[in-house]
Symmetry: C2
Subunit: 427 residues, 2 copies
């Protein structure tokens, strides 16, 4: 059997061919994948049943088993996602600059696929479908490694997807599924062949990837999101936003972990919010001022830097928007942070000065998601400032190249002054 | 004295304030810097004279001494560059997406400065001026470390630039100059504070930086650029392009290192090109077929992976465009590669399938440069596919953030089906 290194090297060599495929062929592949998933659903569900049985046998907790499941509902969801993806514009071949540098010398900047992408993701069969179809639509080759708890489902889904893609005419090297955990470390060493790694999973896992490869990594480790309730907030809106941000889905990166409340409104807002959170079973950890207002667990310094991913929230009273901004920029993870206020000037200050991928006004942090932004789907959420930031959809899976066409133009003529540039934008 | 870590942490905290400065203030800073450089030129030239004396004393080669020099000509050049930079549009605050997700829920994607940038660059005083003014124009804070051979000039230039920037109202933390070589390793450890590193210099140095930091790195190590002379080439154009690409300036990343020639035209093209190169003092290293056509040094396998940066070129005969593409994608550094041909279809195939930041048709590779692309200036050239690729000007020094404004919108309403997204683009 080939090693991951050989497979990735082959992919790299073939990736320009994949990049040159037409939108029609890529969309046709997506349509065939959708049909093949539907017509092979019994085999896929059977594979999933085997994974679920193994998970239950080994005592995996019920909420996690739910995530492993791939049923009619999940199938309908991914098929709808593929139909939406087909409708999206081609991210490849978009010209963002066309400039005549001099007579007969024309520069064009055009989007092209990144090339070879490695995606390492959690045990969630729908994620495999979304990620592979996003990579194909954007003309990229991809090595996929999904969580081993859905090993059988991954294998069944991958075979169906890969066969349909090849049937549409895409190169056989367009997708490869790594199955063994050891293959992850092999993949990390492929910096000559793999252009981008997208790791999804626990903080520790993502940090491990970031620390052990020379390949550029896109993603996020922590998701410490904040809601700041300003002195000019509408208290009911604050209650709604905080309850949603904390409790709508606790185990995700865009859930709120810390609530900051302006001193002026704390006596009114903190009890109202704490009561609403208590109704949802949330444990509050408060600073001294919060403790004076409601019954709660005393917060320690560590709480301000903790991503609970559970029904726990830390609450701190601050002077106002400036202290909130400073706290968020220092303790947050630059993911998504929200202000609740009726004061437009204060909101503007917050949106300007908070240094995060998403800055929200009177909105729950839970909106930070590729689907909710209308991107069709996402491969992940990036807290890096380089390349893509925030939810990453098709746009984040392309780069660009410069094409320069002339008629024997040489730099010596410009250095000597025989010719000179006139820089005329043609678009 | 503060350590680099403390200085970078302070910069990080102040960077949102720098990011929020107006274009007027940033342009005013540039104008003041330009004036201050002119009015302090005697002190700067005196500092440079000390550096040049020290360099000559320690036996630095004449071409390098030329690069260290900062005289009236270089001063006029950087001042012209600043005047051009002032005229360029603001890279900050550019809205690239405005979408109503649902009634009253509006998403805006807007460019913002990256934040804190660390630039480590060679001993070239004009580079210090260009880099610092590009960072200021784009609203970034920067830690600068220039080559120690121009230590005195760097110090004199930096003091003038920093004072003028602060006078215009920019935060004092906007720029810091690191002076000691040990400070580079301190800087590499500042992954909590520094958002991006731009190293310039030798291959080994850039690789060292890439291998020893968790901070994202933008730049390039190798620059192995190719010219491919196709069977349908105009031989005179081929001679002109190859001579320029190889000899116009040999010690730079966009100079050509390897020439590929289609078998069909080799008997005519190789002798003509070899003669023209010999007239410029270039040593040719050829494969067996080239050796049969002209007197030359036999090339070894190693030559195809070598960046000479000198008056040496390797020449190989290939079947045609497909073998040329394969050779370039395998042995090149994805920097800049050119085809010479009169056949538009062949050129199109080359531009499509060569996986490099710059793909050129009938043009010398030496055009790969921010000034020549009309970017005003460049901080470097990137061969990475993430974020900026090719020459990096102002556009490469910004990222974006998503601003989402609503009126108490919560995700629970969309999950339950009470509300739904309608995704209406507002621009």
């Amino acid at each position: 059997m080939s090693t991951i290194a050989q497979i990735a090297a082959n992919m790299k060599l073939e990736s320009p061919v994949m990049a040159a495929t037409s939108l029609e062929m890529r969309n046709d592949a997506l349509a065939r994948i959708r049909e093949a998933l539907l017509s092979n659903k019994e085999a896929i569900f059977a594979a999933n049943a085997a994974d679920l049985a193994a998970a239950e046998e080994s005592g995996v907790a019920a909420p996690i088993v739910k995530r492993l499941k791939f049923d009619e509902g999940k199938l309908a969801g991914v098929c709808e996602g593929i139909a939406d993806l087909i409708k999206l514009a081609d991210p490849v071949g978009h010209v963002s600059l066309k400039r005549e540098l001099d007579e007969g010398l024309v520069l064009v900047r055009e989007t092209v696929p990144i090339g070879v992408i490695g995606v390492i993701f959690e045990a969630r069969p729908d994620a495999l479908v979304q990620i592979s179809t996003l990579c194909l639509k954007s003309g990229n080759c991809a090595v996929l490694k999904g969580g081993s708890e859905t090993m059988n489902t991954n294998k069944a889904l991958f075979e169906v997807i890969h066969a349909a893609a090849v049937e549409a005419g895409l190169p056989a090297t367009c997708l490869f599924q790594a199955e063994a955990r050891e293959e992850i470390s092999e993949l990390l060493a492929c910096d000559e062949s793999v252009d981008l790694l997208i790791p999804r999973g626990s903080n520790a896992f993502v940090r491990y990837i970031m620390d052990n490869t020379r390949i550029p990594v896109m993603g996020h480790a922590d998701g410490i999101c904040h809601v700041y309730v300003d002195a000019d907030a509408d208290v009911q809106k604050a209650v709604d936003v905080v309850v949603d941000a904390k409790t709508q889905y606790v185990a995700v990166c865009n859930a709120a972990e810390t609530l900051l409340v302006a001193r002026g409104i704390a006596p009114k807002a903190v009890p109202a919010i704490a009561q609403a959170l208590a109704n949802k079973g949330v444990e509050v950890r408060g600073d001294a001022e919060v403790q004076a207002l409601v019954d709660c667990v005393p917060a320690t310094d560590e709480d301000w830097d903790t991503e609970y991913l559970s029904l726990t929230i830390s609450i701190k009273v601050v002077d106002g928007v400036d202290e909130a901004i400073e706290h968020i920029n220092k303790h947050g993870s630059h993911h998504t942070d929200a202000i609740v206020t009726e004061n437009a000037a204060t909101a503007e200050r917050f949106l300007q000065l908070v240094d995060s991928a998403g800055v929200y006004w009177n909105v729950s942090t839970r909106f930070a998601d590729g689907f909710r932004y209308g991107f069709g789907a996402e491969v992940g959420i990036s807290t890096s400032k380089l390349h893509a930031r925030g939810p990453v959809g098709l746009d984040g899976l392309v780069t660009y190249k410069y094409k320069l066409c002339g008629n024997g133009h040489v730099v010596a003529d410009y250095a000597s002054g025989v010719r000179s540039f006139h820089f005329r934008d043609l678009m």
